[in-house]
Structures are given as C-alpha cells and as structure tokens.
C-alpha cells in the first residue's frame, strides 16, 4: 500500500484552542477516502493543512513523499462552492481554464491546447453546452460540476475536495459519484470532506473519522461502525475538550447515530 498523504503529529490552531490535534493519518493511493466528522471537527482545515494553506502549529505533512511545494502540480483542490463570489464576471469555460494556470506558471497565457482540455473536462461533467454561460446563471449543482471540471483540467494524481455534495441536485450528485469513481479507477486518489453519513458506505472505500483529534481511519467496512461514529459525534476526544473555549463538537447537536446508519 502506497501512502499518498502522510500526516504525523499534525496540529493546527487558529487562535488558542487547537482545530486539529496530534493527527497521524495515512491516505492510501488509488482509493476514495471520506473525511467525516461533526461541524467544527476540522475537516476543511485538514485539507488546507495538507495543501499548506494554513499555518501548521506542530507536526508534518508529506504528499507523494515530498513537500507540498514540490508536488503542487500533481494535486487538485476543489474548495467549497460557497467560498467564491459566483457573480464574478466570467463564464464556465474560463473557470475550468484556471485549472491549467498551475501548469502554465507565471506570465504565460493559456493556449489552444489548454482550451481544448478545458472543453473536454466540461464535457466529462456533462456541462459541455454551458461553456459560454455566465457562472452567475448556473444552478448550484452546475457550479459544483464546473469546479470539478476545473480540478480535472489540472490532470492531477490526487484530488482533494471540500464538501462536493453539499447543496447539489440528485442528477449532479450521481454525476459527481460516477466521476469520483472514474478518477479512482484510473489509479488516482480522491479525498473528500463528506457530510452525509448515509452515503459513505456506497461512495467511499476508506474513511477518516475526525473530531479535532483522530477517532479512527481505515477501510469503511472496518472503521465505519456505530461505536466509532458515536465516539466521533458525541464523545470528547481530549480530556481538556470540555473547558470553555474548546472547539465546538456535536455534543450539543446530539445526532442520532443509529437513525443515520439505519
């Protein structure tokens, strides 16, 4: 088993209390991994820490057994759809074309071949006829598919996706799952922050259960158990979690785990 991502003692803190605490995580190559946990568990932060977008307080992360700087071109990142202003003056093809920027480097403009690749990627997500559509006129699901097409245009080996299924219609959800599995089946690695416990078994091979600290990680069949989920959503992970100012955890939400699992 080759590890695409290796995190050791990874700790991230925005202010006083840690957002991620002492994580040891290995992501296996050629598999689809879900990152699951309650709100405030640090799921998005974990992706950002791997990408080097947030300062790491302690520990290390390695990607493809190298530093992130050295392998940027092999990694595609899909941020949350809600993190950008969709009223930005541009069309769908132009957004997908941004997936080529990393390869072009500074000062060089995208050319004919980049345009062709971008159009192909739009076709792959079923958005080929929307190439010249203003992004503000796309539905939520269509915007998400444009974001995925941009990631495909990066022609990466590792895809990090932040909640790709949030706020999308059923058609888009099926399209995304299909795409995610296609990418995985071609030997690439997919890591996605995922909210919907019901679909984890169906969509993903591996799962990382996270609540500031690591609860469990491994193949879905072994790790995605009722007991582990209860510990993820209800239990404190560190003795000092209950002090004032500790990160939010789902104790207050009390998700009925049994109901979610059926």
């Amino acid at each position: 088993m080759t590890h695409v991502i290796e995190a050791r003692d990874l700790t991230v803190a925005y202010h006083e209390s840690p957002v991620l605490w002492d994580l040891d995580i290995d992501i296996v190559e050629g598999r689809a991994t879900a990152i699951v946990g309650p709100n405030g568990a640090g799921k998005s932060t974990l992706l950002k820490a791997i990408l080097g977008l947030v300062p790491i307080a302690a520990g290390t992360t390695r990607v493809f057994n190298a530093s992130m700087q050295q392998v940027r071109q092999r990694v595609a990142y899909v941020p949350q759809r809600g993190s950008v202003d969709w009223d930005f003056p541009t069309d769908a093809l132009d957004v997908v074309l941004m997936g080529r920027y990393g390869r072009l480097g500074w000062f060089r403009r995208p050319g004919r071949s980049d345009r062709d690749i971008a159009q192909e990627c739009l076709d792959r997500v079923g958005m080929g006829s929307f190439a010249n559509r203003q992004i503000s006129q796309l539905s939520g699901g269509q915007q998400q598919r444009v974001f995925l097409a941009r990631a495909l245009a990066q022609q990466a080996d590792l895809y990090l996706m932040d909640e790709p299924f949030v706020g999308v219609d059923a058609v888009t959800e099926r399209a995304i799952v299909q795409l995610l599995h296609d990418v995985r089946d071609s030997g690439k690695t997919v890591v996605a922050v995922h909210h919907d416990l019901e679909s984890v078994r169906e969509y993903f091979d591996d799962v990382v259960l996270l609540n500031v600290g690591l609860i469990a990680a491994g193949p879905v069949a072994e790790v995605f158990t009722e007991d582990n989920l209860r510990r993820t959503y209800h239990g404190p992970t560190r003795p000092d979690m209950d002090r004032p100012g500790a990160p939010a955890r789902a104790g207050s939400e009390m998700v009925p785990v049994e109901a979610l699992l059926r």
Partner: protein, 317 residues
C-alpha cells in the same frame, strides 16, 4: 506622444492652451489607469483600501517637503507613496495578527494617517516658510498646477502599472475569483495581494495632484462599478472601466475649463458619477430598468396563464 490625444479635442470650443492640455492629458492617464486597476479592487471588495491608501499618502507628502524643502512633484509623490505603503503594511499587520475586523482597521489607518497629515500640513503652512508650499493642492487636487514634467511622470508610472497588470492578468484573475484555489496552485495570495496594493498605491500617486487624497477613491470605484453593469468578462470589464475613466477625465477637465471657477478634480468625479448612474439605470440585464421590466413581463405572463386556466374552468390554485 503627448500631442496625439488632444488633437481630437480641437473641434471643441475651448480656450486651448498649454495648461489645459496638461490637465486633460493628466486626467486621461489618471482615468484610464485608475479605472483598470480599480476593477480588481472593486471585485475583491477592497475598494475602501484604496481610500485608506490615498488618505495615508498625505503625511508622507508633508514629511517629504519638510525633509527636503523641495516642491517638485516627484519627490513629494515618492513621500506619499512611502507613507501609503506604510499604511498598507499597518493594515496587513492588523488584519493578520489581531482580531480587529478589516473595516475597523481601515477606519483607524485612514483617520490616523490623514489626521497626522493635516497636523503636518498646518505646521508647514504656518511655519513662517517664505515659500508657499502649495501642499494643500494634494487634499482636493489642483489640476492647473500640473506641469509637462508631471505629465511625463504620470505617463511613465501608468505604463509601468498597466504593464504589470497585463503581465500578471491571469494571476490577478484567479486570486480575485478564488483565493483558496489560487493558493493551492502556488499563486500566493499574500504576494499577489501585495502586488495589487502596490499597483493601487502607484495609481493613487498619479491622481493626487489632479483629484487629491479625499476624492481619489471614487476614480478607483466608479468606472469599475459602471463597467461591471455592461460586460460579463473580466477583460471586458477592465478595458471598459479604463475607457469610462478616460471619458470621465476628459469631460471633467473640459467642463471645468468651459465654466469659470469649477475645480477639475471634483468635476472628473461628478462625470464618473454620471456614468455610474446611467449604467445602473440603463444597462441591459443588470440595469434597474431592465430588471424591473423583465419582472413585470414575467408577472404578466403568469397572469395570462392563470386567466386562461380560469377561463377553461380549471382551478387556478
């Protein structure tokens, strides 16, 4: 080079002289540059940073005069640029290392720097210095003081600014649309953000003599807001915004020369505001009139369907 643009204006019945030519040229260079650079500031929702930077230039201008004793524009503007950059640095530091919100930080930097500038200005004016410093021209602008040399400086700065803008267009675009993604592909938001701030500071330097520190921000915002109404591509918006800035510059400076005792800077700002008002009202798709009309058409359409349904005895509920 300078003679090319005003040739087109000979048809106008204006008292043509060297001063007016300099004023118009200065306004054209200023309007174009601020329109194009301002597009990015507006899209990044950072237009007020431009305001803080412009105000922060005043103490630098005064200090440059006090230290060197010169009245030459370039020295004063370099002083202004330095304190403008210092203002940016203070903003970035507050934003990075404290929990004070950006708008509060903007307010603090703007008022503190401007207050300090006014304090220095008052000292200079009453300092018994025989030479009239003429520093107050930087507050509201005084286009008539623009010399041919100043026009050359403005032109050089504008060429640098627009050259960098064109060279880094792709990076500025991806940073403005999606900073997280930009960072993930190695387009560092702090680096490109600092580049954009530097371009803003340089653009403001072009405008200080014409419109001054207080009104400068409107030339960064107004053309961009107007341009966004008419176009749906970033390149289109940047170019149109530059054109609107140019039109505002020419019409403002011509208007102020036609009518006695009308200051140039405020006239340029008013011209830009008229362009904004027209764009907000009449632009297709995004304009107020167009939105109102399409909403009414849709309502009428629904009413027709409902009426037809009633007529056929189908419940409209």
């Amino acid at each position: 080079m300078m003679a090319i643009i005003p040739l087109a204006l000979f048809g106008l019945d204006v008292s043509w002289d060297a001063t007016l030519r300099n004023v118009i040229l200065g306004s054209v260079i200023l309007g174009m540059t601020s329109g194009m650079v301002g597009s990015f500031a507006v899209l990044r929702r950072q237009s007020l940073i431009g305001d803080a930077l412009a105000h922060a230039a005043l103490p630098g201008i005064c200090l440059a005069f006090m230290v060197t004793g010169t009245r030459s524009t370039e020295v004063l503007l370099i002083g202004g640029a330095l304190s403008g950059l210092l203002g940016t640095a203070v903003l970035l530091v507050i934003n990075r290392w404290s929990i004070i919100s950006m708008e509060t930080a903007l307010g603090v930097v703007l008022s503190v720097f401007f207050g300090f500038g006014i304090l220095l200005l008052t000292r200079v004016q009453h300092g018994g210095d025989a030479a009239q410093s003429g520093l107050d021209r930087f507050i509201f602008g005084q286009a008539a003081t623009i010399l041919p040399r100043d026009v050359t400086i403005m032109l050089v700065v504008a060429v640098i600014v627009l050259g960098v803008l064109a060279a880094c267009f792709k990076e500025l675009k991806v940073l403005t649309f999606d900073p997280l993604f930009a960072a993930s592909i190695g387009v560092s938001p702090p680096l490109v953000g600092a580049l954009l701030s530097a371009l803003l500071v340089l653009t403001i330097m072009i405008g200080l003599q014409t419109v001054g520190v207080i009104l400068m921000v409107s030339l960064l915002i107004a053309p961009a807001v107007a341009a966004r109404q008419w176009t749906s591509s970033l390149a289109g918006m940047v170019l149109l915004s530059g054109f609107f800035g140019l039109v505002a510059g020419v019409s403002g400076s011509v208007a102020s020369s036609l009518i006695d005792r009308l200051p140039t800077g405020p006239m340029i700002v008013i011209a830009a505001t008229v362009i904004v008002a027209l764009s907000l009202l009449f632009a297709p798709e995004r304009g107020v009139l167009s939105t109102w009309r399409s909403r009414r058409t849709r309502a009428e359409h629904f009413r027709t369907i409902l009426a037809a349904a009633d007529h056929h005895g189908v419940s409209s509920r």
